[in-house]
Amino acid sequence: MRRVLTTGSSRGIGLAIARRFARVGDEALVHGVTHAAALGALSKIDGKAQAFGADLSKPEQIEKLVSDVGEIDVLVNCAGIYEDMPFATATEADWDRTIAVNTTAPWLLARGFLASLRKRKGVIVNIGSDAGVLGYAGCVAYCASKGAIIGLTKALAVELAPEVRALCVCPGPVATDMMEQSVMKAADPEAERLRWASFPHMKRIADPAEIAEAVIFAASPDCGFATGSVIMVDGGVTAGKRV
């Protein structure tokens, strides 16, 4: 039984990942912004699971999370925030918030858990985004944060091999609360949902379970020769576009 910490696993992609690890017999260490949020997710997980709360924009809470959780075999950095943010008006606080959660927290957690990951020949799976590879208007800071986590993944991979592997799974649009919130803010939510579903070549939005499947593979011994890999699970978005 591996001990697997998945950040941001009280809902969305993270919850699907935690559920999937528990189903194959691993211990799911569930993290949410608050302990209550993480506890609430435990009823959705079959298998051994524990709940942890931490605001990942605060380094001191990350430090506490690392000490509360103890040793782990797999770190899945899934917690992330997305905010529509026009470039011309984004503030320093907007920038700092995005980078803190999406880039700095994964780094602090990787460094924090390094001793046990080395000892247990563990795996780090970071959740990137198609927006870490392609540029999108309206979310320049988000693209920067996800580009940086891809770089972080490669840097961890080359420095920590052969003891520890590091990979980055990059989803395209996924049906999560985070997407739902963004959709509901649009003037015409249904049209906005269709717009999201239209741009992947697969012509739909992914289910969180499909992303979890890629993460499970990345963390498994079957994937043991892969490190530093950027695994696109994006419906073909980064492969190209139609004229």
Binding site: P59, F87, A88, A90, E92, W95, I99, T103, T104, W107, L108, A110, R111, L114, A131, G132, V133, L134, G135, Y136, A137, G138, C139, V140, A141, C143, A144, S145, K146, G147, A148, I149, I150, G151, L152, K154, A155, L156, A157, V158, E159, L160, G228
Partner: protein, 255 residues
């Protein structure tokens, strides 16, 4: 050397006190441009301006780029003049450490100067660049495309800068502002000398980095500066959102 004419163009170069930044500032200045010279302190800027030969086409723009306010301050002289055609985000921090030795502060300064500052200099300069139909060149690194060990904060920040350049290119294209990144390999600069000294074995450091590039040498800052002038010229007018490696072949493969 190709001869460029940048007369009547206004260029802001961050981190122009030494190394590649100074070479870029010199190349634009010699090609006739008005150059806003940025580095951390007024003294560093004054010294760079003296090295560039002085004159009324050099304007001091001292500012510490560790904060958004500092990034805006670097653009202030251009805003005061009401003109900017080319913004070169060159300033960078590179202190090589292993993962365990990369402190919170070391991580923070790499992300602040190498990634956050370019966001806020471009934001502050946007009205001027939209007016001039100007362009941004972000100096990333080959380490924005792939990684080496013991440089995690720099690698993360430079990858972020490459993707951020693409996002800026997409968002600013409708306004006619272009954004490209260059990804240089190792250059013979003061920064490299700092890193070499810091490594404890400078001679071996230079030898291994020469061998690391398939061309068998490191670049001179002047040749990278010439490339920046090419990229800023009308010859590259259809380019935006590109991240161009100029790295002696190091990201192309293994020797």
């Amino acid at each position: 050397m190709i001869s460029f004419d940048y007369s009547d163009k206004a260029v802001l170069v961050t981190g122009a006190g030494r190394g590649l930044g100074l070479a870029i500032a010199r190349a634009f200045h010699e090609a006739g441009a008005i150059v806003f010279v940025n580095d951390r302190t007024a003294e560093m800027v004054a010294s760079a301006m003296a090295k560039l030969g002085g004159g009324d086409r050099l304007i001091a723009a001292p500012a510490d780029l560790a904060t958004a306010a500092g990034a805006r301050k670097a653009v202030a002289p251009a805003l005061a003049q009401g003109a900017l055609d080319i913004l070169v985000n060159n300033a960078a921090v590179n202190i090589e450490r292993g993962i365990e030795e990369t402190s919170d502060d070391l991580w923070a300064i790499h992300l602040a100067v190498n990634l956050k500052a370019p966001f806020f200099t471009v934001q502050a300069a946007l009205p001027l660049l939209a007016k001039s139909q100007g362009l941004v060149i972000n100096v990333a690194s080959e380490l924005g495309l792939h990684a080496i060990p013991n440089n995690v904060a720099y690698v993360a920040a430079k990858h972020g800068l490459v993707t951020m350049s693409k996002a800026m290119a997409i968002e600013l294209a409708p306004q006619g502002v272009r954004v490209n990144a260059i990804c240089p390999g190792t250059m013979d600069t003061e920064l490299m000398a700092d890193c070499a000294r810091d490594s404890g074995d400078p001679e071996n450091y230079y030898r291994s980095f020469r061998a690391y590039h398939p061309l068998g040498r490191i670049a001179s800052p002047d040749e990278i500066a010439q490339f920046v002038l090419c990229l800023a010229s009308p010859a590259a007018a259809f380019m935006t959102g590109s991240a161009v490696a100029i790295d002696g072949g190091s990201t192309a493969g293994r020797v």
